[in-house]
Symmetry: none
Subunit: 226 residues, 2 copies
DNA sequence: TCCTCGATCAACAGCACTTTCATGCTTGCA
DNA sequence: TGCAAGCATGAAAGTGCTGTTGATCGAGGA
C-alpha cells in the first residue's frame, strides 16, 4: 500500500511517516505545494494524506486535481483548521475523509485502512458474492438477479458488512462507521438489532443465503462462502 | 493487557505497578535478572518494561531474548543512564521505545498505550500452523480453509496457547492470562477442563490435528508440529 | 392536513455461553 | 496390581446477550 503524505510541519511529517511505515505502509512525502503536485501527478497512490494549509498553495487544489486524475485514490484531509467550511469544501471536492488536528496516529491508521478497503469496492464495479450482487454507486442490490429494495440505512449497513466480509465486526464499530458521529448515544445495540433484523429479512425473502451471522458476545460477520 | 515490569528498585517498582494497575493493565513484575528472564521466557506479554541496570545481569540481554522469541511483544526500556549509547543499543536490539529516568507515570502510560495499539495494528497478520489458521483481528479461525466457530472464551484460550506454542502452560497461568483479574473467584481447574474439552472438540471436528496435549501434573501444551 | 413509511427505542421472551457439579476414566507411583 | 491424584466428560443451572414485537416519533408525499 502506497501512501503520499503532504504535510509541511517537519516534526509531524516525520512522526506520521514513521508510524505508517511501522504498520506496513510505503510512504512518500512532500512538504510544500509544488513538490506535492508533482508527486501526486506523477504516480498513482493508494491513498493521499493532505494538509490544507501548505506553503505556496492550498491542499484543496491538490484534492481537486487528484480527484480529476484518479477516482480510485483515497484522499484524507488533515487540517488544523477545524473550520466546517474547509471540511465541507474538501469533501465536496472529492476527499473521502477529514481528520482535524490534533489526531491520534492509530486513529489515522484505522481510517486509512478503512478507506483503502472501501476504495477497493468503489468504482462502479459491482461486488458479487454468489447470489448476491451490489452496485455501490447505483445503490443497487440484487439477489439472483432480482432487485432488493433497501432503505439507505440498510444499504450502508450491508455495504459495510460486505466491505469487511469474513471479519467479526463489533456493534460499536458498525454503528460508528454507518451512523458516523451521532454514534455517541447510549442505546446503540437495540436499534442495530432492529436494522439487522430488517436487513436479514429482506435478503432472505429474496432467497439469499444466510450470510449475516451473529457472533455471540462480539458482533456480526458476513460470510463470503455461506 | 498484560505487562511485565522488570525493575530492581522496590519503591519505583511498586509505584509503577500500582499506577498501571489503576489504569487497567494486568501487571507482573520481576526484580532481578534471573527471575525476569524466567518470566519473560515463560509467557507471552503484550508489553515488557525493562530497566537496563539489573542485579545479576543486563536488561539488554532480556531485550535481545524477547525480541528473538516473540516479535509481537512491545518492549520499552526504562533506564537511569541517559547515555545515548544505551538508547541506541537498546533500540537496535529491537526495543520499541526508550524512556529515561526520571519520568512521569502518565507519560509512561501514554507510550505504553501507543505502543500496544501500534503492535495490534501491525499484528494483523494471520498465524498459520499447517492446517490451522488464526486471524486475531478478524476473530477468525480456520482449519484447512474451513471456518471454525469458536466462542469468545474458546478463541482467547486458543490464542493464548498458540502465542505460547510448544511451551507447557500451567492451568494457573492460562486462567490468569485468559480470564484476567476475575480469576480469583473461579473454580480454576474444573471450568478450564470444560473449555479445553469444547475447544479440542471443535478443532478436531473440523479435521485439525490433535495439537493440544495434556501434560500430566503440569498443564497443557500446543504443539506446532503435531 | 392526513397518511405512510422508515428510524428509533423499550420490554420481554428465548437462547447461547459460561460455569459448576457429579461421575467415571487415566496416569504415575509404590 | 492397586490406589490416590489428576483429568475428561456430560448434564444442568445460571447469567447475560440477542431477536422480536410493537409503540412512538418525524419526514416526505398526496
Amino acid at each position: 500500500m502506497k501512501v503520499l503524505l503532504i504535510e509541511d510541519e517537519q516534526e509531524l511529517r516525520r512522526s506520521i511517516r514513521a508510524f505508517l511505515q511501522d504498520v506496513g505502509f510505503l510512504v512518500e512525502s512532500a512538504n510544500d505545494f509544488p513538490s506535492a503536485m508533482e508527486k501526486a501527478e506523477q504516480y498513482a497512490y493508494d491513498a493521499v494524506l493532505v494538509d490544507i494549509t501548505l506553503p505556496k498553495g492550498s491542499g484543496l487544489d491538490i484534492v481537486r486535481m487528484l480527484r480529476k486524475q484518479n477516482p480510485n485514490t483515497g484522499i484524507i484531509i488533515i487540517s488544523a483548521k477545524g473550520s466546517l467550511d474547509d471540511k465541507i469544501l474538501g469533501l465536496d471536492l472529492g476527499a473521502d475523509d477529514y481528520l482535524p488536528k490534533p489526531f491520534h496516529l492509530p486513529e489515522l491508521v484505522a481510517r486509512l485502512r478503512a478507506l483503502i478497503r472501501r476504495k477497493q469496492f468503489a468504482g462502479n464495479q459491482a461486488i458479487e458474492l454468489d447470489e448476491l450482487r451490489i452496485v455501490p454507486d447505483d445503490k443497487l442490490v440484487e439477489v439472483n438477479g432480482q432487485r432488493v429494495d433497501l432503505t439507505v440505512m440498510q444499504f450502508d449497513l450491508l455495504l459495510f458488512l460486505v466491505a469487511n466480509k469474513d471479519r467479526v465486526l463489533s456493534r460499536t464499530a458498525i454503528v460508528e462507521h454507518v451512523w458516523g458521529e451521532m454514534a455517541d448515544r447510549l442505546d446503540h445495540d437495540h436499534f442495530l438489532y432492529s436494522h439487522m433484523k430488517n436487513l436479514r429479512k429482506k435478503l432472505l425473502e429474496k432467497g439469499s443465503k444466510d450470510r449475516i451471522q451473529t457472533v455471540y458476545g462480539l458482533g456480526y460477520r458476513l460470510s463470503s462462502h455461506a
